[in-house]
Structures are given as C-alpha cells and as structure tokens.
C-alpha cells in the first residue's frame, strides 16, 4: 500500500517515464524489425510482427519489473536511516517487498499501456486471443517482479559492507539488461551466451513473461515448466536475500550518530 501511494504521488514523473519507454520502444521495434528483415523475414522463430510485439512488451514491463536500478535500501544504509526501518515490527525484506509490490501494481497500467498502445498503432501487435496465455503471463509477470526485487535487494545489501554501491549497481544493470532479454531476445543469443543466461535468474525477469504473453510457449507443459523455473528463482533469491540480511544486520553500523 505504501509503495502504491508513494509512486502514485508523482504523476508527472510517471508520465515522463512512460513517454521515454514509448520513444525507446519505437527505436527498439524499428531495429529488431530491420534485423529480422535482413535475416530474410524470420529469425529464431520471430517474424517482423512478433519481434515488434516482443520489443513493445518488454518496454511495457520495464517499469513494473524495474529493470533499471533501485538503490533505496542502499541509500537508507548509507545515511543511517535504516535504523528507522529496523525499529518496526516487520521484517526488513518483507517491508521492502510489500513496498515494491505496491510500486509494481501502480506502474503496470500508467507505464505499460502507453507503449503498448503506440506499438499497436505504429507496428501492429500480435497478442494472444485465448485466456490462457494472458493468465500464465499475469502469473509470470508477478513472479518476474519478485525475482527482480529479490536480486536488486541482494545488490542493495552490499551497502552494509561497501556503503557505496553505485559501481556494483551499474555492473548489475548492464549484466541483467543484456541477459534478461531487454536489448535482444535471449533466443538470438549465440549458444555460449544463452547457456550463460539460462544459468542466471535474468531471463526469468523479462524474456519468460514475454514468451508466455506472446504465446511462444504454447504447450501447457512448456508454460508450466517456465513458471516453475521462475518460482524456483523467486524463492531461491528471496531466501538468499534473507540469509545475507541476517549476516548484514549482525554487523550493522548505523552511520551518522
């Protein structure tokens, strides 16, 4: 609830982000469509229309999944304000997880719809007409939000040791951006890179929900399998976050009096 309201306060900021996501959607859709054209009309199962759909859907999910950097917890540690979070009768990870869910819920429509609308008008989108891809996609997006949060939470925990995590965060954003399929579909990766990506939680943050929403994982078994992988990453990364948090709070030094 706190997350939803806090982000809902800044409507102009949201509008500006949605505008940016849309402009970059135009760029990315143009580039990927041109690539498919150059490859002779299809590339790794994508044709011009489905690859445009991929580009626009990933743009729509940037906000809710929070593909780019989140450093709120690190700031709290850096300034010592984390002391305030710690005197609440709620687990620190649970507090931030709840806030992030609220944020994602708020971002879904204002930052998701504009890119999709513009994409539909300019390129035309191929979206499923059945209920099932949408249902699986919705679950998948929810899991993607959790995985992204769990990973960013871990990166933020580094602040308990390093205080300043800008460098670590930049490394994370670049790596995760490439491996989650934000710039190019994971299916276009050379074999060694797709093997590497499959060993990380990153494809589960963006590629998997988009694959489900576009009906690329059409069979029920493939869909369930993809969701199971996501669930495993979500649970695993959150558990790892709790473990590191327990160590971190034991060695905590509150900055600045």
């Amino acid at each position: 609830m706190a997350g939803f309201r806090r982000y809902a306060t800044y409507r102009v900021a949201t509008a500006a982000s949605a505008f940016t996501n849309t402009v970059f959607g135009l760029l990315r859709a143009s580039i990927t469509v041109a690539t498919v054209g150059a490859a002779g009309g299809t590339l790794a199962g994508y044709d011009a229309r489905t690859v445009a759909t991929y580009a626009w859907l990933t743009q729509a999910l940037i906000g809710p999944v929070q593909v780019f950097q989140w450093t709120e917890l690190a700031q709290q540690v850096r300034t010592g304000a984390v002391a305030v979070d710690l005197v609440r009768p709620m687990d620190l990870q649970a507090q931030y997880l709840a806030t992030n869910l609220g944020r994602a819920a708020y971002m879904l429509l204002p930052r998701g719809l504009p890119p999709l609308l513009v994409g539909a008008l300019t390129f035309g989108l191929t979206l499923p007409t059945d209920v099932w891809p949408w249902a699986a996609g919705a679950v998948s997006v929810l899991l993607a939000v959790q995985i992204s949060f769990a990973c960013q939470f871990l990166v933020n925990l580094a602040a308990f040791w390093l205080l300043e995590i800008r460098g670590v965060m930049i490394l994370y954003v670049v790596t995760s951006g490439v491996l989650c399929g934000l710039y190019l579909p994971v299916h276009w990766f050379p074999p060694w890179l797709s093997t590497l990506a499959a060993a990380t939680p990153f494809p589960s943050m963006l590629q998997t929900p988009v694959d489900l929403l576009t009906g690329r994982l059409a069979t029920p078994s493939a869909a369930v399998g993809a969701l199971a992988v996501q669930l495993a990453w979500a649970v695993g990364m959150l558990a790892l976050g709790r473990l590191v948090l327990a160590v971190a709070t034991r060695r905590l030094v509150v900055q600045g009096g």
């Binding site: 609830m1 309201r5 806090r6 002391a83 005197v87 009768p89 709620m90």
Partner: protein, 334 residues
C-alpha cells in the same frame, strides 16, 4: 489480550536493564596517501543501569559520549560487543520484532514518516504494520491528533511540514501502538523555544496519563529540568552519574556567579581566592567570578574584589545546569 500485556508499563520487570554493556567499533583512519590504519574505538564501556516502568530518565552526555550507541543497543539495532541488555524483559536483537511492538522510538534527526505521503497515510500504514485493529488505532490516532494539534496537518505531505510539525507527527507515529516505553534520541533538536515547550508538555502528559516510561537523550538542559526525574550522565562510554538533578548539582558543587561592574577598566581578576574568572566584558569593566557557596560566600568574594578594584554595581547569578554538567564532564575526564 495484547492491550493488557502492553498496558501499565508492560509487566512487572524493569523497563530497561543493562549490565556491563560494551560496544566497540572499528574505525579506519587514513595515514599517508594510501594506507589506512585500523583502530578499535570503545563507544560504550561497561554501562549498567535499570529503569523502572513509569520513570522519566534523561540520558545525557557530550557528543560522542556513547548515548546514541546505547539507545541503538537497547532498541535492537546494534549488537553489543559484550554485556547484557533487556528491554521490556526482551533481548533486543534476537527479539527485535516483538520488541518493536512494545517500544516507540523517535530519532530527532530522522523521520519514520513516509516523506512523499500525507501524515494521515503514514499513520494508517503504521497501524497496518503493527496489525492494530481499526477499533484500537482510530481512537488512539484521534487522541494524538487532538493533543498534538495535528488536525490541520493530516493531509499535507510530510516533506512540506516544518521541523516542529514533523516532530509532532513523528511522536504520533511512535505512540500510535501505545508502547510502554518511549525512547527519544534528541527529540527537541533544532526546534524553536515554543515548539520545545509544547513537546515537553505533551511528553509529561503522556507519562502521567498512560504511565509510559520515557528515556531521552538531549543536549538541552531545559529538557532535563522539565522532563527528567532522574539523570544518567555518560562520558567516554562510562556512566559517571545516576541520580536526580539536585544531587548532581550538589555533587559537582553548584556554583554561583558574582557579576561586578567596575568604575574603571581593570586587568582580569584571576587572583581572587576561591573563585574562577568566568568572563571579562567591556574590556575589563564587567567581570564574572564563579564560586562554590559551601567554600566561600558572596560577601567574602566581594570583599576580596574590593581590595583590588572599585566596584560600581553587582549582581549574583544562580547555578546554571549547563555549567553543572560541564563541570561533571571535566571532573570525570581528569
């Protein structure tokens, strides 16, 4: 049930019990261009005291004396290096979440309110975090809003509140769940005289009305005089005084100050027996001499001064609590 366990100071045991509490920090100092030296600093060194339910205790000391570190250990934010802490009968670090339901904490230099949201939203969210039913928290909020005069501010985003308004909001946030112990780390810092006075009146009421235990750190001696029945003075991580204000004044020797206005400019009167020269004003025309009433009298001091210079006018200033504490610090350092 929950209300019962919270009410009346939260049980029979002491609100706070510390024994031989110690906390060390590792500090990296820069030596030379690249090298850093690792030093161990002892912020709190074997502090022990007990606070009973319903007491109002001032925890005072100079900057860096170890006040905030102690507060963080007894609220469960910091792990002690050694020694024991019990707050409301709980071990703060392992039982931090349970403890958080029983205590309220205000950090004067930070806020627990959500910066972007109106105060009303922050209070609603806190009620949800503390899992308070509407029948409990709404009447409590209304009481706090009325007594802290927050009605006009409820719908204003916290970032737009003045410091005094925000502090009252923070107090409401810390007291919404009716904690038996309220810990305040410099609650009046940066406030104007009027805001400070309102805050003190409110805290006194809160202690008397709801039998709440207060522990506050402060540099403001008016806070001490108005709010604290008992004082704990720390210096360099050690407890150097535990008792009431009168006892403290007696212990360090309450000093009165004789202010003399002279007819002509004179050299500083540093050699008057039994006095310390506190200050020279108007290039020697006004001089301030402090003395301890037990060892000498104002008349003796005046007589001694009169043998040296001609006095035109005089007045006597009564003991100043700030001076008392300053002297306590000085004596404990030596």
């Amino acid at each position: 049930m929950r209300e019962q366990s919270r009410g009346a100071g939260g049980g029979t045991g002491p609100a706070i019990a510390l024994d031989a509490l110690t906390r060390e920090f590792v500090v990296h100092r820069r030596v030379g261009r690249f090298r850093r030296r690792r030093d161990v600093v002892t912020a709190v060194a074997g502090v022990g005291f007990t606070v009973e339910p319903g007491e109002s205790v001032g925890y005072i000391g100079a900057n860096g004396a170890g006040k905030s570190t102690t507060i963080k250990m007894l609220t469960g934010i910091l792990t002690p290096t050694s020694g024991t802490v019990r707050t409301c009968g709980l071990r703060p670090v392992p039982q931090r979440r349970t403890l958080a339901r029983r205590i309220g904490v205000v950090f004067g230099q930070r806020t627990q309110l959500w910066w972007d949201l109106p105060l009303a939203d922050s209070l609603r969210i806190l009620a949800a975090i503390h899992r308070l039913p509407a029948s409990v928290w709404r009447p409590r909020r209304d009481e706090l809003v009325e007594r802290l005069e927050l009605g006009r501010l409820l719908e204003v985003p916290v970032r737009q509140l003045s410091l005094g308004e925000r502090m009252r909001g923070d107090l409401a946030a810390a007291l919404l769940h009716s904690p038996s112990l309220l810990v305040l780390d410099e609650p009046t810092i940066g406030l104007d005289v009027l805001s400070k006075e309102r805050l003190r009146t409110f805290l006194r009421e809160e202690q008397r009305l709801h039998h709440r235990t207060l522990l506050l750190t402060t540099h403001d001696m008016d806070d001490v005089q108005r709010l604290c029945d008992r004082l704990l003075v720390v210096d360099h991580g050690r407890l150097v005084y535990d008792g009431d204000l009168a006892g403290l004044v007696h212990r360090v020797g309450a000093r009165r100050v004789l202010v003399v206005d002279l007819v002509e400019r004179a050299a500083p009167l540093t050699d008057v027996p039994g006095t310390d020269l506190m200050g020279v004003e108007a290039s020697g025309l006004r001089q301030r001499l402090a003395f301890v009433p037990g060892t000498t009298t104002a008349a003796e001091v005046l007589a001694a001064v009169s043998t040296r210079v001609e006095v035109r006018d005089l007045s006597v200033e009564e003991p100043d609590i700030e001076d008392v504490v300053r002297r306590l610090y000085l004596t404990s350092v030596r």
